[in-house]
């Protein structure tokens, strides 16, 4: 039997002898991964939702009269000459009326008696992402007010701030939970390692005194760490996937998920998480006993 066979045999023996501890460690790893990736998932989804809300930043120019299509091109050019703009949308009286009635939802009946003509036409300007500070937006809107036919310029300042604060609050809560969880994960992992070391260091010391080389001592530990990392991370990620599906299935009906658009990690991130778990577990099990190798 070669050296490698010996090491594998040793690892198998260790696992079968200490299966209860091993199971506990496996559970710990799974839990840590589940917690971490759960928060990572919520956080990335929130970031995405936040980005979508930012998308909604627009400046509205109310006009005195409808703009005929020929004029629109000229307007576009003028605006684009001033600053970088992502999108320009022209809203006719009819568009405005339809949107308001959509916005009122079930309250739309109040508009029944009115024609579309009571709302003014407008131009909606979506500035580039890099145009973010309020002063910049203010300057831009001041310029827009000078456009011919503009009666009033408005940007969703108040509404934006409100939503911004709300997402900020949510983000802080999620970040804090994440930080706390990361701390606990670090705690748990270091505790697990300490307990493993407590259980193993006598054996490792004796092996050293018997002249075992590093491969002989670290090999089985590495294999165990690798298996634990692989199984633990996979179980954790898989549980998260089940959880994700469960949550999603509970919200299959209405359009809430379109607003929130809850999505799972792409495969590349999943793969990355599993790899990180693998490396941490196998590396950690080697590092934890390093000081006993100096004997």
């Amino acid at each position: 039997m070669g050296q490698f066979g010996y090491i594998v045999k040793q690892a198998a023996r260790n696992i079968s002898h200490t299966w209860s501890t091993q199971l506990m460690t496996l559970l710990t790893v799974s839990l840590a991964v589940l917690i971490f990736s759960f928060f990572f998932l919520v956080y990335t989804n929130m970031l995405k939702a936040g980005a979508r809300l930012d998308d909604d930043l627009r400046i509205i120019i109310y006009l005195e009269n409808e703009i005929v299509p020929e004029m629109q091109k000229q307007m576009r050019k003028k605006i684009k000459d001033y600053g970088e703009v992502e999108k320009i949308v022209f809203i006719s009286k009819q568009d405005a009326f339809e949107r308001l009635s959509r916005q009122l939802g079930n309250d739309r009946d109040v508009l029944n008696d009115l024609g579309p003509s009571f709302l003014p036409p407008s131009i909606e300007v979506y500035p580039e992402k890099n145009l973010k500070t309020l002063t910049q937006i203010k300057e831009f809107s001041d310029f827009l007010a000078t456009l011919p036919g503009a009666s009033k310029v408005q940007y969703g300042h108040n509404w934006m701030e409100r939503l911004g604060y709300f997402t900020k609050l949510l983000r802080i809560i999620v970040m804090l939970s994440g930080a706390l969880l990361l701390l606990t994960t670090v705690f748990i992992v270091s505790y697990t390692i300490r307990l493993t070391v407590v259980a193993r260091h006598e054996e490792i010391e004796i092996l050293r005194l018997l002249g075992a080389n590093n491969a002989y001592i670290q090999g089985p530990l590495f294999i165990e760490g690798f298996l634990q990392g692989f199984l633990g991370t996979s179980i954790g990620i898989f549980s998260l996937y089940l959880l994700y599906h469960w949550i999603k299935s509970r919200f299959s009906g209405p359009d809430i998920l379109n607003i929130f658009e809850f999505s799972f990690f792409p495969p590349s991130i999943t793969f990355l998480i599993i790899c990180t778990g693998l490396i941490l577990c196998s590396g950690g099990s080697l590092l934890s006993i390093r000081k006993y190798l100096r004997i």
Binding site: E203, I206, L209, G211, N213
Partner: protein
Amino acid sequence: MTSTFKIAEDLEESRPIVEAVKVTKVYTPDVVALQDVSFRINKGEVVFLTGMSGAGKTTLLKLIYCLEMPTKGLIEVNGRDLSKITSAGIQRLRQTIGVAYQDFRVLPKVTVFQNIAMAMEVLYKEPKEIKSRINELLDMLNLLEKRHTPAGKLSRGEQQRVAIARAAANKPQLLIADEPTGNLDKTISARVMELFKQLNESGTTVIIATHDETIFKDSKNMVLDLHHGQLSF
């Protein structure tokens, strides 16, 4: 006590296996365990190390198998200067030395068989060879029945024999036994000494630290007598 010095003229090899020159060991902060100790042990010899409790016997042995480093002085094992040894070198050195520790260092949750097998597995010996060697040793030390008992459930004397069996398992070049009969009765002590004799006959150098004069007083072997960390011949 006057010690019998035996120059190893009748031994096949007379090269030294352990050589110490003015070795001093000070444990921090100020415990002088060994002071200017010089001696030379030739291959194939049997050497007794004696002295009062706390004289420095265990410390001297620890220096030989590299568990401690001397504070001053030179120590060479198998011609290798231990102050310049690498980690891999220590591993290779220990593979040629069998040690029965004074505090046994057996794993209490592991069976007697497995405790001894560890020493042989480290050298990647074949399972069949391991099994036959362990059975032979256990038979010799009257421990065959306890083969599959966890070492923690043995009496202290039985544990001591496990430690001795483990030290002898690989038929090492150098066997170090620290107080090997401290918990053993006369009959078993004699068996242990018989085992050491067998090993010595097949070429093993044996160093025995003991306070039990009965096991060396009639022999003509070299006796190193420590007094408060110093050798007195």
